[in-house]
Amino acid sequence: MSTLLRCDNLCFTYGKGTPFEKDAVKNVSLDIRKGEVIGVIGHTGSGKSTLMQMLNGLIKPTSGAVYLEDADINADKSKLRDVRFRVGLVFQYPENQLFEETVRKDISFGPRNMGLPEDAIKERVKRAAEFAGLKSELLDRSPFDLSGGEKRRAAIAGVIAMDPEILILDEPTAGLDPMGRDVLLSQIEAYHNARNNTVLLVSHSMEDIASIADRVLVMNKGECVMFDTTQSVFSRSAELEAMGLRVPQITKITTELRKRGVPLSEGILTVEQAFDEIRAILKKEGRI
């Protein structure tokens, strides 16, 4: 897999030169490859959101640079818009950005800004709505008449419609009910599988991250403290807990079981995986 987005010693300081100066991101360097899903975790205020906004040029780094396919995105201000079409960012609570008369018009805002022809826009809106799990009869309703979950889907569809190579989602499941979370997450996964694009998912739910991410980026106090495969990050539970984070509950349980001599494999991340292994063990022992 080739490198798509590269961060080189990124720093960002809020309120530079005022008494309220605060380092939000310190010396972050990382490579994001084509087609991978990256989970981003970190305590509130650890600099995750600031980092995400630097990746598509909404925030200009105080020092350091972001390279999209080896081109510095902040080098040419007039090309920033094109960068934003390629690196789509879904903000926290994205339903607060809906503004059009109909859901269809709102989803087409992005593609229209790209200057696509009308029939291409139509096609993209339809496809984006499908990916986001938005029923087609909702497209002609006002976005303000939708339920909370539907609004969230409509807003996400608005970014997906730009068909970005990198899709960044900042806590997309925050405030949704458990059912809505699961459905939205599997939709994101399905979208990723269908388009084979790169996805960055910021979340406070370790379970969400564990079920979807190939690699996990851990932010703490503005620094990137871990960036490794999901299994190896979640095997360092003591360090994570020291940062106010934790590992998925099922990982914790299976690690404890392993310590007590149950022959489970290391780094189990999902309930399904644990279920299969435990069943296999029980079968082998002839207990079921």
């Binding site: 934003r84 079409f85 607060n96 950005q97 809906l98 805002f109 992005g110 800004n113």
Partner: protein
């Protein structure tokens, strides 16, 4: 970033002017403004200027901040002074085409400039040394006599407090919505005027929606805590006059008397 705009100029501190009763400060400001426009000769004017300068020094706020607030109105001062310069009556000192400069013109120009500068300075002293909440408290108390005309002073003060409270919140919200729309390729920096106004729609609509939602939530939260308006409400922080407040009143009264005397006898 939009967040960097400072609104309300309160500069936290612990000088004597910071500790004065805000009601006294508001009343003092009003009387000094009246004074500024009641000075008819240079002696009276210099007394007022001395008072303003003293209050600027006593505020212990960096002079740089005062100059910054001056910068915004420098054009106004220049234009009004120039107009006054050329509209004096009497014998011309210098003349060119339809413009003539007279002694009265010069005098008026200087007077106007000094008056405007003093006005801005002394108003800045109040806003630099008084927090917005103290200011609304003072206004509420001072407007209380209007209650006999059925003016709902408490409600007006509450509205002002809430408005001030939500300015930073709404600014932050605007910032967020702007970023979100920019992420979808909204272009707010180029194009002609009409295009730019149109580009504001995707920002203003979500902003209004969220402002109304916040208003409903706030109203609900206030009702949950049994808020029913001003009737029978007591304050946690009672405004009380201290010795320094009476002293301040005395100083301003003395200056007022001085100015009147200057106007009459000099």
């Amino acid at each position: 970033m939009i967040r960097d705009i400072t609104l309300g100029q309160y500069f936290p501190g612990n000088g004597i002017l910071h500790r004065l009763d805000p009601r006294v400060k508001v009343l003092m400001l009003i009387s000094v403004i009246v004074l500024i426009f009641c000075t008819f000769n240079f002696f009276a004017l210099s007394v007022v200027v001395a008072l303003v300068a003293a209050s600027v020094i006593m505020s212990k706020v960096p002079l740089k901040l005062y100059l910054k607030s001056m910068k915004a109105i420098i054009i106004v001062i220049l234009i009004t002074s120039l107009l006054n310069l050329f509209y004096g009556t009497g014998e011309a000192i210098a003349q060119w085409w339809i413009f003539k400069i007279t002694q009265a013109g010069i005098r008026n120009a200087v007077f106007v400039a000094v008056r405007i500068i003093s006005l801005v300075m002394v108003s800045s002293v109040l806003t630099f040394t008084t927090s917005p909440t103290d200011l609304t408290d003072a206004l509420e108390r001072l407007m209380k006599p209007l209650g006999i005309f059925k003016v709902k002073t408490h409600e007006i003060a509450m509205m002002m407090t809430i408005a001030l409270r939500f300015v930073p919140t709404l600014l932050e919200e605007t910032d967020k919505i702007m970023s979100a729309q920019k992420a979808r390729g909204a272009d707010m920096e180029s194009g002609n005027l009409i295009k730019r106004i149109k580009a504001l729609v995707p920002i203003l609509i979500p902003l209004f929606v969220s402002a109304f939602r916040r208003a409903y939530d706030l109203a609900m939260a206030m009702e949950c805590r049994c808020y029913q308006g001003g009737k029978g409400r007591t304050r946690m922080k009672q405004l009380r006059m201290h010795g320094r407040d009476f002293a301040a009143v005395a100083v301003v009264a003395a200056v007022l008397a001085g100015v009147i005397l200057c106007n009459i006898f000099l």
